[in-house]
């Protein structure tokens, strides 16, 4: 059997399985099988690639056994490390892990570009341009994702900001494009230090681009770098004449771009706004006085009131996950359901750290997805709810986003929890939210505050309801 035919057919099947797998992943019912389908495609493509050993170029033939050994070692090391780390990571830390794996993909694309360029293997203006562009984007995705990972993981707390930063970054990008054009202009035949400087500057640019961005915006940035890596992979696929890379890369490039736009839209901001403006800097301005005071209530009293409500809507936030209270919360939900209370979850698009992150965290606790509702679907129901309980969420439930034009978060879509008859807010202390904005909800007449660690609060609520003895 012809090796080239075998490789090409494997890639064809792999490309089909990737798209079919992604398609299945787009519905909760079939999502689980979708990733398996795509995984089969990946294994097939990687196995088929070893057929390359039958047909390497003349210059590489004497090195074939060394190269093959290196390839196997690299595969085993990369696979082994990633498999272990992926199995271990906690669900709350998922966003930074995705960032890390994404950066690795960008690095691999940049590595392909580097080999093609330093080996002077690429010819033709189109191939050369895509090799250079893919290398640039891949390198930016690599260093940018690493910074995003370090920030979300709490390894870097500083946000680098100085007034001329955008100017510096702009000039850096211009220099990069100029070097890229220089390489292409000379048909790729330039001394190797030019390539070294090019990749080094691209890596630095990725760092500089990500450093000024605050933690809350990081998901948008990770999604953007995900799209970047996809594009870089697609471009390098063209250079290598590899259709599997071209198709997979471009599908991810466009899907990732759309996902980035959706995420930014959910926060009522543009992607450019996320990248180039300093959100935290605006929140120091006066937001107008908030009338009223925060009224505390005991956790057990709040629990008992919920037990006798007919409809309860829960608005969870990242604080819930940090306190690891999802499991206790679901226990509470089951108790309420057994007592005949209708319980629904209301999920803000950016609850958690990424869109859909909260759904994953609730799913981990076993909460069935058909009592979990998106903001648009449930916002109209709050006025029929007897109790809305906010757990570890803040900015996403701030009514000031609807009413107060001077608020920095004005215009951001929020959950209308304030429209429920009674609102309980479970919160550790009297602090502000991630954006640093004061929350008018906490001072509203129908709001009562349950102070304490979310997990402990859940436990007291459960005990209080259980002590009623089955509601006789």
């Amino acid at each position: 059997m012809n090796a080239a035919l075998l490789i090409d057919s494997s890639y064809f099947i792999a490309a089909f399985l990737f798209i079919y797998g992604l398609k299945r992943m787009s519905s909760p019912l079939t999502a689980r099988s979708g990733i398996v389908v795509a995984g089969v495609g990946m294994v097939l493509a990687v196995l088929a690639s070893f057929l390359y050993t039958l047909d390497v170029n003349e210059a590489a033939k004497p090195h074939l056994s060394t190269n093959l050994t290196l390839a196997l070692i690299a595969l085993v090391l990369g696979l082994g490390w990633a498999w272990r780390s992926g199995k271990k990571v906690a669900m709350t830390e998922m966003p930074q892990m995705v960032a890390l794996y994404n950066g690795m993909g960008g690095g691999a694309a940049a590595a392909i570009a580097a080999i093609e360029l330093i080996g002077y293997k690429t010819h033709g203006t189109v191939s050369l341009s895509l090799a250079v562009l893919g290398g640039l984007i891949g390198a930016i995705a690599l260093s940018g994702s690493l910074i995003a990972w370090a920030k979300l993981d709490g390894r870097i707390n500083k946000t680098l900001r100085f007034s001329a930063l955008q100017l510096v970054n702009g000039s850096l990008l211009l220099v990069l494009l100029a070097i890229g054009a220089y390489i292409i202009w000379h048909g790729g035949i330039v001394a190797w230090p030019v390539f070294a400087v090019f990749f080094a500057l691209a890596l630095i640019y990725g760092v500089m681009m990500t450093m000024p961005i605050g933690g809350a915006d990081m998901p948008v940035v990770i999604s953007l770098y995900n799209a970047f890596t996809g594009l870089a992979v697609g471009f390098e696929g063209y250079v290598l004449n590899n259709p599997a890379l071209m198709i997979a890369g471009m599908v991810v490039g466009s899907a990732g771009s759309l996902l980035t736009l959706l995420m930014a839209k959910a926060m009522n901001r543009s992607v450019a706004n996320v990248l180039f403006s300093n959100f935290g800097a605006t929140s120091d301005e006066a937001e107008g006085d908030i009338a009223g005071s925060q009224k505390p209530i005991d956790a057990s009293d709040a629990g008992i009131n919920m037990r006798y409500a007919s409809k309860v809507i829960i608005a969870p936030g990242y604080g819930l996950a940090v306190a690891q209270a999802q499991h206790k919360l679901y226990e509470l939900v089951k108790l309420l359901q057994d007592a005949g209370v209708e319980v629904k979850f209301a999920i803000h698009p950016v609850a958690g750290r990424m869109p859909g992150h909260m759904n994953v965290l609730l799913a981990e606790a076993g909460v069935p997805y058909d009592i979990i509702f998106d903001m648009e679907d449930i916002n109209g129901e709050f006025k029929e709810a007897d109790v809305a309980i906010v757990i570890g969420a803040n900015d996403t439930v701030n009514p000031a986003a609807r009413t107060n034009k001077s608020s920095p978060i004005y215009g951001m879509p929020v959950l209308n929890v304030d429209m429920a008859k009674q609102v309980y807010v479970v919160k550790r202390g009297q602090g502000k939210g991630y954006s640093g904005v004061e929350n008018a909800l906490f001072y509203a007449d129908n709001t009562q505050m349950v102070y304490g660690d979310a997990q402990k609060v859940m436990v007291s609520m459960i005990q209080a309801i259980k002590s009623l003895g089955g509601g006789h």
Binding site: N67, G78, A108, I115, M246, G249
Partner: protein
Amino acid sequence: MDYTTTILTGFVALYIFMLAAFTGFEIIGRVPAILHTPLMSGSNFIHGIVVVGALWALLNASSLPEQIIGFVGVLLGAGNAAGGYVVTERMLQMFKPSSKTNKE
């Protein structure tokens, strides 16, 4: 059998890029928000296919710098693919409808 690899260049490549871009756009456009995180992770896994390109580059390396960069490339690409798969699979495993959980 006389088969040689099709060279994908010029407009053929452009068509592939265009159709692939629309495919990605269409798939994500109709996805409920609850699946955005797993899907981002899933698409992150799919660009792990870059490992295949890195493999080709490493197998065709003919100098030490090329071998070093190729090794790093395969290492990173394999990490992208394997890590992306594991975390996506773990996330998706947890999505269950009410009926199933009630039976437990």
